[in-house]
Assembly symmetry: C2
Homo-oligomer: 649 residues x 2
Amino acid sequence: EFYQAFVAYAGCNVVLAIAAAVLCAYVAPAAAGSGIPEVKAYLNGVDAHSILAPSTLFVKIFGSIFGVAGGFVLGKEGPMVHTGACIANLLGQGGSRKYHLTWTWLRYFKNDRDRRDLITCGAAAGVAAAFRAPVGGVLFALEEAASWWRGALLWRTFFTTAVVAVVLRGFILFCRNGNCGLFGEGGLIMFDVSSSITSYSTADLLVVLLLGVIGGLFGSLYNYLVDKVLRTYSIINEKGPHYKVLLVIIISLLTSCCSYGLPWFGSCTPCPDDLKEQCPTIGRSGNYKNFQCPPGHYNDLASLFLNTNDDAIRNLFSSGTENEFYLSSLFVFFFAIYGLGIITYGIAIPSGLFIPVILAGSSYGRLIGTLLGSICDLDPGLFALLGAASFLGGTMRMTVSICVILLELTNDLLMLPLVMLVLLISKTVADSFNKGVYDQILVLKGLPFMESHLEPYMKHLVARDVVSGPLMTFSSVEKVGNIMHVLRMTRHNGFPVIDEPPFVEAPELCGLVLRSHLVVLLNGKKFTKEKILCREGILRKFDAFDFAKAGSGKGLKVEDLDISPEEMDMYVDLHPITNSSPYTVVETMSLAKAAVLFRQLGLRHLCVVPKTPGRPPISGLLTRHDFMPEHIMDLYPHFNPRRKLSNRS
Amino acid sequence: EFYQAFVAYAGCNVVLAIAAAVLCAYVAPAAAGSGIPEVKAYLNGVDAHSILAPSTLFVKIFGSIFGVAGGFVLGKEGPMVHTGACIANLLGQGGSRKYHLTWTWLRYFKNDRDRRDLITCGAAAGVAAAFRAPVGGVLFALEEAASWWRGALLWRTFFTTAVVAVVLRGFILFCRNGNCGLFGEGGLIMFDVSSSITSYSTADLLVVLLLGVIGGLFGSLYNYLVDKVLRTYSIINEKGPHYKVLLVIIISLLTSCCSYGLPWFGSCTPCPDDLKEQCPTIGRSGNYKNFQCPPGHYNDLASLFLNTNDDAIRNLFSSGTENEFYLSSLFVFFFAIYGLGIITYGIAIPSGLFIPVILAGSSYGRLIGTLLGSICDLDPGLFALLGAASFLGGTMRMTVSICVILLELTNDLLMLPLVMLVLLISKTVADSFNKGVYDQILVLKGLPFMESHLEPYMKHLVARDVVSGPLMTFSSVEKVGNIMHVLRMTRHNGFPVIDEPPFVEAPELCGLVLRSHLVVLLNGKKFTKEKILCREGILRKFDAFDFAKAGSGKGLKVEDLDISPEEMDMYVDLHPITNSSPYTVVETMSLAKAAVLFRQLGLRHLCVVPKTPGRPPISGLLTRHDFMPEHIMDLYPHFNPRRKLSNRS
């Protein structure tokens, strides 16, 4: 009988897992994983293909549903952030032309900044909806997602999450009578622990500090292991989509074995006398699962494993239930979840990191609380909360946003000082070992993320030292053939334009022209036979929005152009589309200062001009890639700390 | 008997008021007012004298105590922010040399950025302590105080406020037995309203929207009137310190008359049956004041007027007390506090704006709640909270920080969506009339604050258009006499340095040198008879910290230098102290872009270089003042919207 039950259980899980994996592997590989690093990279200025495409959105939503339903140890929070960002992107692009969903009234978002703002709002909405935490959503967007921050953005995200809160509240009221499954339960506060006692002594404080330190260690270990596992998985995943699906099936079976097999080791406990009505729980969600036990008894491990993730967290956070869980059960659960969480992230399904970390953290906290119950008066439920905080601080390294999210999750304002302390301690401890988990994933994915802090070696280099590649420049009135040649041969997106005699006395920097604008200009075919200035006359042929930034993956490409051989010998005046005052730095400027300029102003191209007069008016162009540590380490290997170590040994 | 009581009451108030006013008028005029605009300006880069001086700190602390004790309608929150910033400044300067409080181990803060970070933390600590709201403190520092924001700063302010929370909690525990007066009361939550019912219907939502709109109108009217009153007061205050003290005495008497006189119009109400123990309150702080009423009765107006501001707010926020206050009483209280709040700000005592606005807002909210009690099920106490939110949003125009501060003040997470809505509505309504109250005060004080948003006319100007004054440049090896002459004649703080033949072929921009560094270099007297390069050799004479930024008002001045006539004819090599790669813009760059660069990188000087080669290597220097609207309006009056209007009429 129990064997059949396992087959049914594992079977359902595997079917759901395969559904999620097939979507992910064949339709939109970008939808795998959390999505928060990708959103972070996009908001940093990385315009990688398909990060926020409609197909990614579709797979993210359904893959996440299948994944969570399939019983994996993963969260829906990261995917919801990504979903929010994708929806915002879709809105900001004025719909998707490919899928025949277009709005023309959304042309306001035809520039990087407004689109970025909208996507930041989308990410905030995702967090707000996932945790029912509107203020937490704003702070998450501020602390983790966004790379640039403006006052207006703060108030826009706040507005977005206020709308989310109102809509959520409407749905919860509508669903209160139970016609939407589990949705209406819990109200706006998902894990209400506000009823517990909250006075604490100095001994408690010391225990809490210890909890923070160990939580930080476990958190950084988590990051380290996730990194190792991801590197292993990427080898498997590169072999093809079949392997991806296979990997998902293996992990699904392993998870099913753990969550079905381990509760057998749990012993049956008689229900507490005062909870005869709630215990044991059969056929509905709740705290005391019956599993294999006789009536009137419950299995504490089953209450954790054979439950939704949300309910397991609620059980761990529950207060006034000191004796509900055995120490051994918590031990088993903690290690199982810690391990499963690590091996689950990185397989080809949308998988958030918040829930696994909160689960592991709260079982760890409750474990410590039960162990030290004799010297400490705090409730084990509060310990579970603090443990979750310490793990979150140790893995994700956020402070204010996690603090507010936990506050909004648990409605326990009086624990705020303790939560703040634990977060700070665990973050500090973990920061001394490695980077936050999202930053690690960014590096692993090879996304060129501009860090806000500067590397020390940047002070020893000047801008000239890292400029790479042959510089492609155009004359201000250039031959069409030359432009076409350069556009086809290189993948550069920006080209300096030089004013040359006879238009000026000596060559001088006219400005910077973008590939996308060049392609639109060439497509208009306003060419002249002679090398003459046309200035703004050219623009009459174009609409104001022709040069606006198209959605990612849209817009004209150089391959779309059809230029005849005669036209190739004609000239075109680049002045009207040249940005005539690009930001510039002198070639002898410290690379650190140039990096600050590049990052603070959110540039894509930075012109490097010579120090002394009489030389060509531009000596290079700095792009995002020139500031990446890998690029600089290639050029100057002696700055590499690892190489130094290996040389010594 | 009552006449004598009034004389005693008003007399005490006037004595305390005079104490505060004398401190403020004669010792540190900078300590008057809220202090938040000054802190905001400092963090924006305005290094105005005495804003954060030790004398200001002293007066701010004691003046605020006297002012609050003197019964004025003013808050302690703004002054506490200023106090926090002053303490941070004192710590960051390594103590005060003038008052013989110095630490040498605090040399880390000898630069603008770290000192600014420390002061931001101080401001956050002030809010955290004033409202017992650690997260609110972080957000206040982020949203209102700081002009630049970095990830590291977020986590530093968070750490600061966590320490504040722990210390506060320690004091509250220590004071719980009542040996520190009113301090221990209320715990970490100052106005706990979490017990009230929080379900609301669509009709309630409509009422709340209306509340937000009217609150926004009242808020912007408040700002308008405060502005008018401040302009009037500044005329009086300019006449001398005596007039300042006189003004304070008049306002104090007026306040005493109102708070003692108006309760006579309140009628006596029998105590509710279930509160015989708490009502009436005699000889202690509480909800039901007896005043002139017979035993067993209370005067509702006296409960509001003859109470501490905190207790009055607590009374207004109290739930389940629908019939405690008469409509007429709330009416009288609202108008009295609204008026008194407006005329109190601007007199020569430290006076915060939070408490008057919260008081007026909560009485307004309770008024609306009582008026519309028939069509709306919400508790009048919750209406008071929403009213306070609407007034705060309408005057101060903050969103997230006020929301979190109110949440931490009242511990009512379930009201969060409503509070967010009200804040957004009132802010939007008020923004269409005028600026936030702190921004208005900044303009009124003439502090050159760099706004983050750009004025539209900036797009029509280029950098060259606003460069002002004769440009003073130095040669890279300059005559001492020339330097002394320029330093004495001008008040510029930065000078471009030009490399000239014979050291280079053609003149080129060598960099930028600061006045403070020049003075230190001249003081070292490393001069040479001939015009030769010495390079770094010069620096051997100096200590690493000699060139570090001194505390405000400290550091060497040009008047302190003693240069003999022979030395005046000698030369000094400026290369070692020249910043050889200052940020530059081309003279034809749009002023808007130059302003973004200037503001985002937090510059003090921005070099403007010519577009075409063959001209002098620098054509101007932009400073903060060149970007101020007043300066630009002087140069280009046709951009002035007011002038346009008057021309037309």
